[in-house]
Amino acid sequence: MSAGSSLPYRLRPNKAVDRELFLSLLMRLAPKLALEKYHYVGLGGPFLEDFRLVHGRLGIAKMTCLEIEEQVHKRQIFNRPVATIECVHKTLEDFLDESDFGTPAIIWFDYTEPKAITTQIERFARTIGTVPIGSILRVTLNANPMSLGIPASKDLSVEVEGEASEDRAVKPTIQEWRLARFKERLGALFPSGLTADGMTFKTYGLSLLRAMKLAVDHEALSYRDRRVVWALATHYADGQAMVTAAMVVAPQDDTEIEELVKGWEFYTTTDAPHRLDLPALSTLERLTMESNDDAKTKLGFELPSTDMGTDPFEVFRKFYRIYPHFSRVEL
């Protein structure tokens, strides 16, 4: 597989936290929406971990796993942890086009391919009108700005904090160059007024989420029976930078779902996603940080700050409950 999608979760702690957040959202909504009767649709990868968890935590029985590569599809059938998972050798899009949902669905558009971003956003947005009300949709998008292309450095100028290279007037900066490509790629979905500042490693994810939110809002204008309640947005990088967003397609006059979502401790909207950037810790460090209010003093050293520039102590404090713990098991 080309993108990072085949890496197991134990090597991707941030993705694991991201998934736990989504499961936590589902757990919160489960009693209100009776999620056990929902239809879960996703891409399971060779090991179908998400499916095992969704089934285990929520008791959802009706599940469909899509896979386009035949060998992986066969492997999924072999690895299937629950017999009620239907493994289908198809694209998610084809499956959605060919299905009529009798019950509300939970659909995870787990996109990793950065080049088809416009089609992915359009597809996600369009789905809010085609699923039964009450459905929960989640999207993952590749948020690596390098995926917009890598220009030759001789074609670029540099400007940092007021200082600029001599060719500044005639050549774009890397961010300006990316902005032009982003505009080309998004076409009509481009958020008006977006500037080159939104094209850095740290900010590109936000720009992408903004484009996605606008596309969904635009689609929502066409429906009077439903509205979109945003619940969770994340931005993380385990190698590949990714953004995710999840929402509930609620009835137009709903207030209860919205209240439930807004009262949730991890409630976030697309303009301020959780930055999942957790430090790699030894078991002793982890236990110390969990059991002490002032972990920094207790440890007596700084933890390296990460790519996204977040404070590792803060991030840990926020997500320690769902921080994954992996250990070696000999079979």
């Binding site: 088809a116 080309e184 790629r185 076409g187 008006s192 809002d217 929502a220």
Partner: protein, 473 residues
Amino acid sequence: MKQSTDKAQASPTKQFFVSMLTRDISLDDAILDLLDNCLDGAMRIADGDEVDYSKHFVKIKLAKDQFSIEDNCGGIPRDVAKNYAFKMGREPDDDRDSDTETIGMYGVGMKRAIFKMGRNALVRTRHDNDTFEVPITSEWLEAKNWDPLPINEPTKASEKLPQPGTRITVKDLYEGVARHFENEAFENKVRTAISEHFTMFLQCGLKVELNDKPVEPVRVEVLVSTREDGPAPFVFRKIIDGVVVSITVGRNTSHALGNEEDEDAGFERDRSSATAGWTVLCNDRAVIVGDKSRLTGWGDGIPLYHPQFAIITGIIEFRSKRADKLPVTTTKRALDTSSNVWLESLVKMKEGMRIWIDYTNQWKNQASSEQQQARHWEDARPMPLGKAIEAVAQRKAAKRTDEEGIEFNPKKNKVLPEPPSKTPSSRRVTFSKPAEEIRLVGKALLDDENAKPGDVGEKAFDLALAKAKKRGG
């Protein structure tokens, strides 16, 4: 027959006006109409002189329960308010704008916009030192008669506007309108529309704020080389029927499309920027931006628009002090395509397009066409219409037809880069294969399972070619 004392009523009803007028305008156009009025105000202040737009602001707010637009563009004089501004339609004796380049001519913009949005509106204005307000209420709207609207005086100092200008607020918004005003995608649409249609004014310093955030202009530009023999756009200027028509067609800054890098779900997506295609300006208003339809000549004696032409930008400007001479319709965002000035211009527009359509045809099957072209275009800079004409006019090859008139054809003057061999024997080979098989071949040939499908295909072809040569030769 002889005349009786009975009379048949023939006066229009308010209901008719409100529903007819609002039916043929979209909500975003209604907002732009109000912005147009602000600009006409700024032009009246300048009174024929050049307008200093950087002195003016327009603040627009969209919310679920209220719409407002506020400017400092001079306000409405009391006698204009009394006699003209609130009338449905323009009076023949209203000669306010006979010598300014405004665009309003029917006298419906403000009323139509208000009726489109809601049932209660308040127009507060200050002209010089005279502040007053005109409420348009739902009671007035529902009443059968055409009583004049009241004009209220301020009673407190706080009711005065701080500087000459106008503030319009609309409340009791219609359900659908409220739903749009609280929707972020709609706000984005309006922002884009303002940045496109009012780009010239924004570039001249006009400050427009939408929901407290400034609107940035979209730049519609073509590439011009400053070298005498460097690549340049097609340029044409002439006075037709008292309208100054300026045209340029050239290359924009977007990349040539269709390379494997950007392949998207197997389709050739149209990723053309908003400014590819035709932009039509009338007295600095962009009436149409990036049109790619039959309206501007595509598919009419030349090919239909296609992503291959995404690098082509055309700009045409009509300028006249007589608004009725301009080829625009009442909404100011559509063209009157039957006017003579438009039809005559269209011939030249197509002439310019043909040059660049040929250009993209010549380059489309060239290997690494992007890099080869880049050399020629290296010193070219993006320029808006006026600057592009100015730059090209300085070339010796530019033809002067009369005092205003100018014409430059880059193809006839041989300044366009040509591919190394003009009749390339290269043909494009395309095919689709499953991703896992491409990875397998990529690994076998390039020791890289993530190699670009195009590279893998090319290497596979090279291999087959070598084999074929060995066998055949």
